[in-house]
């Protein structure tokens, strides 16, 4: 499979891979390794916005690259906001083939799961 330069860059460097710890961190995940894709986001909050984000991802290069990009662009966003970019825009930015668009929805689900955890305080 051919990947865009941006996809390869974020796949190979994976900035923001890892976890955060602390009372101001909330976590959410989606997917399952047994089904081929799983994504987790840790969001560190402060003053109603996201101060830092980390991710873990088991999946194809597009899954890892887009998760890394989302984590990198999360800082400073309002906790009520969605992904830093819509699924459609991410799909275009990373040239994600149509059969893999479901992976982007999974990333969105993990993102909202993390935000949901922030809002419920879990």
């Amino acid at each position: 499979m051919n990947y865009s330069e941006l996809t390869l860059h974020y796949f190979q460097t994976a900035p923001g891979a890892g976890v955060l710890a602390g009372p101001d961190v909330c976590r959410g995940s989606a997917g399952a390794r047994a089904q081929g894709a799983w994504v987790q986001f840790d969001l560190q909050l402060g003053g109603g916005s996201i101060r830092a984000a980390r991710f873990l991802a088991f999946g194809c290069p597009h899954t890892i690259a887009v998760s890394a990009w989302v984590a990198e662009h999360a800082a400073g966003r309002d906790i009520g906001a969605g992904l830093p970019e819509s699924v459609a825009a991410l799909s275009e930015r990373f040239a994600v083939p149509i059969e893999k668009r479901g992976r982007l929805l999974l990333i969105e689900d993990a993102w909202f799961a993390a935000l949901g955890a922030c809002q419920t305080g879990s």
Partner: protein, 390 residues
């Protein structure tokens, strides 16, 4: 820019320079470019002589007679000729075929096509380690079985099947002809067509440092219980009417020499490659969470198939691809592809089936290649495991 380390010899091999030189001699005006069927002049005679010498080289390397060898475009065509040829010729005797789930698609797809045309096919599931036991074949035979097709060496996991034992079962049955796809085993394992007792055997040149586009079907003719085939091609009567079309002198010369060289170097190559394979496995297994696919005690040294826990297959291949040319059972590269059916048949789950790499070692593989491969895979797997939190 450095080229990646090539460890995909099970997919294809580079042509040996000696083979390439011999082939080139058959192409130009100064060489033996004649049509081997042109018996009216010396150009044709010279080409025909080379074709027959090549036939003898291939036959000798596998313990067959020259007249048993029919040239084809490769093992896929040889498999098709064997399967459709036997099925059609013996259609009034029976319409049942036995094969295995772990066969190459070049056997499975013709079998599926025959099913579509009304034949019945039994697909045997491999026992532990990928082995098909003779008693499984015996149990699957029916009164009207006309063909059993079992590969010699599996192309994904390298497991060697006991062809002689399976052929003996077929011989006892009487009506079941035994076909062997030997594309992966030829030139790497000792093959004695007569001792095997098989009726038909498919060969490929490009797995043995010969050219792509040529192979052979070897089958027992004119002695014992000869096998008959209905041809697939018509139009010139070449190859005793079994494979019409001008014989490509340069291709068969390449195959003949490649097989002769492979036989001459087989023992030395196998010994050296076995050491490299062991070095590769030791290096990879030190990662932990690694699974060797296939029965190691019954495998060729040229092939090593390993699954890696905690990594996704497509990402693993993408991570090693800049430095390493290997193949994978992975496949979430498109919606149409599936995890390796061979590894699934061995009982591996989808995730482990997808996270496998097949390393094919060959004549030109060096210790440095192996050490580079270990380093590249270790780095990739460790990084992907960190990213996935595994």
């Amino acid at each position: 820019m450095n080229r990646p380390v090539y460890l995909d010899y099970a997919a294809t091999t580079p042509v040996d320079p000696r083979v390439a030189a011999a082939m080139a001699q058959c192409l130009t005006l100064e060489g033996e470019f004649g049509n081997p069927a042109s018996s009216s002049h010396s150009f044709g005679d010279a080409a025909a002589s080379l074709v027959e010498r090549s036939r003898a080289q291939v036959a000798q390397s596998i313990g067959a007679l020259p007249e048993d060898v029919v040239w084809t475009s490769g093992a896929t065509e040889a498999n098709n000729l064997a399967i459709f040829g036997v099925a059609e010729y013996y259609r009034d005797y029976g319409r049942h075929i036995v094969t295995a789930r772990t066969e190459h698609k070049a056997v499975l797809d013709p079998c599926r096509e025959l099913e579509r045309r009304g034949w019945r096919v039994t697909y045997l599931a491999p026992a532990q380690g990928g082995v098909i036991h003779a008693d499984q074949v015996a149990a699957a035979l029916e009164a009207d079985t006309v063909l059993v097709s079992i590969m010699h060496v599996n192309n994904e996991i390298g497991v060697i099947q006991d062809i002689a034992a399976i052929a003996a079962i077929c011989a006892k049955h009487g009506g079941a002809r035994m076909h062997v796809d030997a594309a992966q085993g030829a030139g790497k394992c000792a093959i004695d067509f007569n001792r095997f007792g098989a009726d038909l055997m498919s060969l490929s040149a490009h797995k043995v440092y010969g050219p792509k586009g040529v192979g052979a079907l070897v089958f027992r003719r004119g002695r014992g219980s000869p096998v008959h085939l209905t041809p697939l091609h018509f139009g010139g009567g070449q190859e005793q009417g079994l494979r019409a079309g001008t014989v490509a002198t340069h291709q068969v010369v390449g195959m003949g020499l490649a097989f002769a060289l492979a036989e001459a170097q087989r023992a030395a190559d196998a010994e050296r490659i076995a050491i490299l394979q062991e070095r590769l496995w030791r290096g990879l297994s030190s990662l932990g969470g690694t699974w060797r696919n296939g029965d190691a005690k019954r495998s060729v040294p040229h092939l090593l198939n390993v699954s890696f826990e905690g990594v996704e297959g497509e990402s693993l291949l993408a991570a090693v691809r800049p430095d390493l040319a290997v193949s994978t059972g992975s496949a979430c590269t498109s919606a149409l592809e599936e995890p390796s059916y061979v590894l699934r048949a061995l009982g591996r789950d989808d995730v482990l089936s997808e996270s496998s790499l097949r390393f094919g070692l060959g004549r030109f593989t060096t210790e440095l290649d192996i050490d580079t491969a270990i380093q590249v895979v270790t780095r990739a797997v460790s990084r992907l495991r960190r990213i996935s939190g595994a």
